[in-house]
Amino acid sequence: MELDHAALLDAYRRMRMIRAFETKLTELVTAGKMGGFMHLYAGEEAVAVGVCQQLRDTDFVASTHRGHGHCIAKGVDVAAMMAELFGRATGCCKGKGGSMHIADIDKGMLGANGIVGAGIPLTTGAALSAKLRRTGGVAVAFFGDGATNQGAFHESLNMAANWKLPAVYVVENNGWGEFTPTEFVIPVKDIATRAASYAMASAIADGMDFFDVYAKAGEAIARARAGEGPTLLECKTYRFMGHFVGDPLKYRAKEEAERWIQTRDPLDRFERRTIEAGLVASSELRAIDKAVDDELAAAVEAAEAAPLPDPSEVTRDVYVGGAA
């Protein structure tokens, strides 16, 4: 898919929104305005946006506990997300999902997921659905390096390869599984090589480079749409913040994070490259920054003013037909 001027600005807007959203959440949680377990996506924006910008509303993605970025990239309404994280009735899940289950299936977003690896078989099922119903759709799973040690990953990849499903399995290798370095728990250097066990196509992308992710995801999505089967796409990336909001980060050398942030920040790299190449103007990006900040401020204000769920909602939506 060609990245024209409008598409480049849209990519920047999505990445900038993810970064600003996560930064805002850190403030809100630290100020005690928001509860629950929260895992932030800052640093990995190029992966979600580089993939999702090439998807349609009728394509499905399944996400992880670190799911805000995938939601924003897939087009879930930011105000509804903010309201959800404030636990309001106007949230995209009516205040019943929260950070680890944030979702909007109408946007093809099958949810963040509190269980590591659980979104992978859901994606396989969505891909089976697309294939059998001939929707022309693809299904994309985002998951971390840690999830590739789960049985769900291996069982899913085996089935998807066997059935040539229109799926893309995107592993966001951010170097850390919770508090443990990836190389301590995974014997292979490149997770992408695990695809060989399933005779599946694979690729490795620089997950800090929007353009590299975009190109390699584009090939994988095209392969899926053409009926040529699934791909395991490893994006090497980095988690700028802790495992969760409030993580004291005592287990990770400060210099390691600083090096990634100083030299490989996906937003900085996107900006440098596009401006140097004369593809966008600095003023255009600054205008997006302001628009994003304004939209977020309005989302927070609206969420704080929004009604709380009625207690009668506790037993609603358990079954399609109503309460048990």
Binding site: L122, L128, R133, S156, N158
Partner: protein, 336 residues
């Protein structure tokens, strides 16, 4: 109603699957050996149709919609959940409910909760067919009655028919239900025969069946224990004790009104469950009788269940393990 024929429980299940697939192109079957290897190779061999032959013939009728999976319960059940949430109406086969341990997450944390977590936006019209119970000397890992686990998970429905008639009608209802349903096929009933109407009909989920009317005591069973209750009622009748038999059919939702109605009528309940006694359906029914039916009770509620032990192999031990008509009669005669 159309003509009824005699079919086995397994044949009734097969007929329901065929009707469901004929009437809705989004219904697919997936599971281990639901077709069976030879069927797709072009060789002149019959398909297996599942380890107990229940799905035989369906792959020939619907070659693109009967999918053999690898022996990957987590993968196949998880895939079925994802397919159900995105437009298909899958019927997944979990060969034996004992294998629930390998695929609990897709049911417990995904299928059961997607709709709720998404604020009512998702539907998961999934049916999981699974074989339950003892009686074939299949021993500890192929004989359990673990429906108490799924019945206890909000967001799932769990049904267990006791007759071929209800097997067909309940399975059609389960497949067409927009919520995930665990459909239990008691292995000791799979080859039992009974009258089954031709054509398309549903048995509503959530409704118990009064299998026998009586006035002195209510015997409440489910699945394979319904027949035991009926046999016990015959024996008791010879001694002048009139036993009513209620077949729960649906474990979640539970037909509380039918349970309370039979309790009100007889004043005594013996609940009979093939499962182990702790945290189970029998305890649930007993608790309901005490919570909401205390004023109707003329005697303590008795539970006749398997013991708190794994299912043994030896026929002698398996018989000792299982509830039976004799144990039910003894419980009725000894109200404590």
């Amino acid at each position: 109603m159309t003509r009824a024929r005699t079919l086995t429980f397994g044949q009734a299940v097969n007929e329901a699957l065929r009707i469901a697939m004929e009437t809705d192109p989004d219904v697919i079957l997936l599971g281990e050996d639901v077709a069976g290897g030879g069927a797709r190779t072009g060789a002149d061999v019959d398909e297996m149709g599942g380890v107990l032959g229940t799905t035989r013939g369906l792959v020939k009728a619907f070659p693109d919609r009967v999918l053999d999976t690898p022996i990957s319960e987590m993968g196949l059940i998880g895939t079925a959940v994802g397919a159900a949430a995105t437009g298909l109406r899958p019927v997944a086969e979990l060969m034996f409910i004992d294998f629930l341990g390998t695929c609990l997450d897709p049911l417990l944390n995904q299928a059961a909760k997607l709709r709720y977590m998404f604020g009512g936006k998702a539907r998961v019209p999934l049916t999981v067919r699974t074989v339950t119970g003892a009686g074939m000397q299949a021993a500890a890992q192929h004989s359990q009655s673990l429906y108490w686990i799924t019945a206890g998970i909000p967001g799932l429905k769990t049904v267990i028919p006791a007759t071929p008639h209800d097997a067909k009608g309940l399975l059609l209802a389960a497949i067409r239900d927009d919520d995930p349903v665990i459909f239990c096929e008691p292995k000791s009933l799979l080859f039992a025969a009974g009258e089954v109407p031709e054509g398309d009909y549903e048995v509503p989920i959530g409704k118990a069946r009064l299998a026998r009317e009586g006035s002195d005591v209510s015997l409440i069973g489910m699945g394979a224990t319904v027949r035991m209750c009926e046999q016990a009622a015959e024996q008791l009748a010879r001694d002048g004790i009139s036993a009513e038999v209620l077949d729960l059919r649906s474990l979640a939702p539970l037909d509380e009104e039918a349970i309370l109605a039979t309790l009100e009528k007889t004043g005594r309940v013996v609940v009979v469950d093939e499962a182990t006694p702790r945290c189970g359906i029998a305890s649930d029914v007993a608790a309901l009788c005490v919570d909401r039916g205390f004023d109707f009770l003329n005697a303590p509620v008795r539970r006749v269940t398997a013991p708190h032990a794994p299912v043994p192999f030896s026929k002698t031990l398996e018989d000792a393990y299982m509830p039976s008509a004799a144990k039910i009669v003894a419980a009725v005669r000894d109200p404590r």
